[in-house]
């Protein structure tokens, strides 16, 4: 791909793709939540699918530089596909339905990618937004299929793999969502560290130069857009399967906009950004809205403004101050661990 084969650079690339200890800790902690917080499965489930959804946006925004305000379009396609498949008993097994829903979204993603490729950033914002709005209106219009504003009622989700039934406490739902998230995360990690992923970053940094060194810019972007649509579709299907609901608001502009916020909180161009952003966003929303059901939006807004003003890194260094001190006592600085992606 690059013009000069360079051994040192190759080593660096391989090193960058290796799993870090901190990542192991992250996923072990994620797995431990199943045992640690048995009364919080429902909100954790939301964190899981929102994390996957944010990961999907990060693939195009953070790695390929495609801005989108209509990512909910694919989430919605996935949600309605999963809902319709389950409702009409076409595919009862949730995992298979999940894959089919993902592919349905991917097809729409592939077809609409040509529209998205045509413009620059501002045009892309408008085009993606428009696609989501059009899909929402279609779902509203064909209410005999989608149930219109009342949503798709009467979805019953069969047991996962025919073995594990979705329970009232949401345990099965959470483990299911978390497993799917992990698998797709590993796949996404492979993608971004592959030569394909590296070429995407070259395109993001400078499309003209990328084209000049022989990267087929449009083809690469269409590919990643389609992959991201698949991810968003799976996130939507997880949403429907875990809540047994699909309503018009899966296409809502708010959903796309919230997703941007999640990435703003967590950071773009960095796979964990979406996951951490989703966790902070959802938990913050949950806590604040139970404290003040009427005015929670004000506090969330304030927190977001503060986060943006202070800058993420300053907050991080404040939060990790104590752990770093402790680590220093043991003669080793946590922060010295090799990190992930460059901004």
């Amino acid at each position: 791909m690059t013009a000069i084969p360079h051994e040192a650079m190759g080593r660096q690339l391989v090193a960058a793709a290796r799993w870090r200890p901190a990542e192991w800790v992250f996923w072990l902690f994620a797995a431990a939540t199943v045992l640690l917080f048995p009364d919080r499965y429902l909100i954790l489930t939301e964190v899981a699918w929102l994390g996957l959804f944010a990961l999907s946006l990060d693939l195009i925004l953070g790695y390929a530089g495609i801005v989108s305000l209509g990512h909910a379009a694919f989430f919605g396609i996935g949600a309605y596909s999963a809902g319709l498949l389950a409702k009409h008993g076409l595919i009862n097994e949730p995992v298979l339905a999940l894959v089919v829903a993902g592919f349905a979204a991917a097809v729409v993603g592939f077809l609409t990618s040509f529209l998205v490729m045509r413009g620059s950033d501002l045009t892309r914002l408008m085009v993606t937004l428009a696609i989501a709005l059009v899909l929402r209106e279609l779902a509203n219009r064909f209410s005999d299929i989608t149930g219109g504003f009342d949503g798709l009622q009467g979805i019953t989700v069969a047991p996962v793999l025919g073995l594990f039934e979705f329970d009232l406490f949401g345990k099965v739902g959470y483990i299911y969502c978390l497993s799917v998230l992990f698998l797709l995360f590993v796949l996404a990690r492979r993608i971004v560290h592959s030569p394909f992923g590296l070429s995407l970053r070259a395109i993001r940094n400078n499309p003209l130069r990328a084209a000049a060194i022989g990267i087929p810019v449009n083809r690469r972007l269409i590919w990643i857009y389609t992959v991201a649509a698949f991810y968003a579709g799976v996130a939507g299907a997880l949403f429907t399967q875990s809540s047994a609901i699909a309503s018009l608001d899966v296409f809502a502009f708010d959903r796309s906009a919230d997703l941007m916020l999640v990435l703003v909180i967590g950071g773009t161009g960095y796979l964990y950004g979406g996951l951490i952003g989703a966790a902070i966003f959802k938990l913050l929303q949950q806590e604040v809205s139970s404290l003040t059901p009427q005015y929670w939006q004000f506090w969330i807004g304030l927190v977001l403004v503060v986060i943006v003003l202070l800058g993420r890194q300053r907050i991080e260094s404040a939060v990790t101050f104590v752990p770093r001190r402790i680590a220093r006592l043991f003669g080793k600085e946590i922060a010295a661990l090799p990190g992930g992606e460059a901004p």
């Binding site: 901190a22 640690l36 009364d39 940094n205 047994a244 309503s247 939060v319 992930g340 460059a342």
Partner: protein
């Protein structure tokens, strides 16, 4: 830039984990002597006025009647679902599983009430619907009861009234969702059954509707009257556009279920609203002592007039109180639902009862006309009473 190593990953992971852990640790509090009511209503978004009215009314009732009944302390846990059914579902589930609520209540819109129904059945808790008005709701779980109203109740009455009062042609304008379709279907059945003719049928989208193009079509169709259903909260916007399009001078009358003339907004609609005839279950001008006291207390506490949503909440909490008295404080779903069946009382809206068969509300429907009251404000003044009326939506099905 691509290969610069930064310390961000581990720091961020630490940050994420810390915040996650902090937010997830919850302290469950248990008390055997409390009855917990999970109140799930929209407090933000387009339907926020519904949630606020219900919340206000419940607080008012608890101030007036104390927070202890049958030896149990009543605790209301308020949650905002912004009228999104997936929120409703999660909140309901959390309230049942984590907070161990004995009753779930509220539900601003039909999809929200329906989303909670399977959970009520599964967990065997009483679900008191205080706002949503689609007929089918109470059929979705044996633990559901309702203190609001159903759209067929008011729509059939206004249809009968229209036929008797010389209205021959009607164009309809209804919001395109379950309650709107309920209203349209039952109006049509009774109006056409009585010999009336529907000349134009228009459904408007529920979210952010622009009525202008629809109103133009109404004007062109030249019916005697237009039958309008929009959910509480949208009536003001509708009347504004009705005047802007000059329909107030066209001689086309507005009739409909009373949602469009909600007391909440009525006084700000201006003179165009005067003379509008609607059928509904509650008017702030209902001439009973009970209602006068209620309106006075509500106005004193919150500075605004209560609408029918507030009454739904007020009666809902009353129903829960009375049911607890009857069961002697037993708060399981089976005892409570058995207790509410057949219960009858005097509400600010008039006499009401719970149908023992369908668990749905039975009440009078009043025909009202918007007029200026003695204080110069606009009121729905009741001039004819029909009832008591069971939900016709269920009666026709059988």
């Amino acid at each position: 830039m691509m290969f610069v190593r930064t310390p961000r990953l581990s720091r961020r992971l630490a940050l994420g984990s810390l915040i996650g852990a902090a937010a997830l640790v919850s302290v469950p509090a248990f008390a055997e002597d409390t009855v917990k009511i999970g109140l799930i209503v929209p407090m933000t978004g387009g339907q926020a006025s519904t949630g606020k009215q219900i919340d206000n009314a419940i607080k008012l009732y608890m101030q007036q009647n104390g927070d202890t009944v049958a030896g149990k302390k009543i605790e209301v846990i308020l949650k905002d679902d912004a009228a999104l059914p997936d929120n409703t579902k999660r909140l309901t589930q959390e309230l049942i599983v984590n907070d161990k609520v004995n009753v779930i209540a509220g539900f601003g819109v039909t999809p929200a009430a329906l989303a909670a129904a399977p959970l009520a059945t599964q967990a065997k808790v009483l679900e008191v619907v205080m706002a949503a008005g689609t007929s089918i709701i109470t059929e979705k779980s044996p633990y559901i009861t309702r203190t609001s109203f159903t759209l067929p109740q008011s729509s059939t009455v206004i249809a009968d009234w229209a036929v008797k009062n010389g209205i021959q042609t009607v164009a309809t304008l209804t919001s395109d969702y379950a309650p709107g379709n309920d209203a349209l279907a039952s109006f049509k059945e009774h109006f056409e059954g009585g010999g009336g003719k529907i000349v134009e049928e228009i459904k408007v989208p529920l979210a952010n509707p622009d009525f202008a193009p629809f109103l133009q079509r109404m004007k062109d169709a030249k019916p005697d009257a237009m039958f309008v259903f929009v959910p509480a909260g949208q009536g003001g916007n509708f009347m504004k556009q009705y005047v802007e399009r000059g329909l107030d001078k066209s001689g086309i009358k507005v009739i409909g279920p009373g949602d469009v003339m909600d007391d909440d907004l009525l006084n700000n609609m201006g003179e165009a609203a005067e003379g509008v005839v609607t059928a509904h279950i509650y008017s702030a001008a209902h001439p009973s002592q009970k209602n006068k006291d209620f309106v006075a207390a509500y106005q004193k506490a919150y500075g605004v007039r209560p609408g029918f949503m507030a009454v739904g909440g007020y009666d809902g909490i009353h129903l829960i109180y009375e049911a607890l008295k009857k069961t002697g404080g037993k708060a399981d779903g089976d005892s409570l639902i058995a207790a509410v069946k057949g219960m009858a009382w005097e509400s600010p809206r008039g006499p009401i009862s719970i149908d023992p068969e369908t668990r749905d509300i039975v009440q009078n429907v009043y025909i009202r006309k918007v007029q200026k009251g003695a204080d110069g404000q606009l009121y729905n003044v009741e001039f004819a009473t029909f009832g008591p009326i069971k939900d016709p939506g269920k009666a026709t099905k059988k």
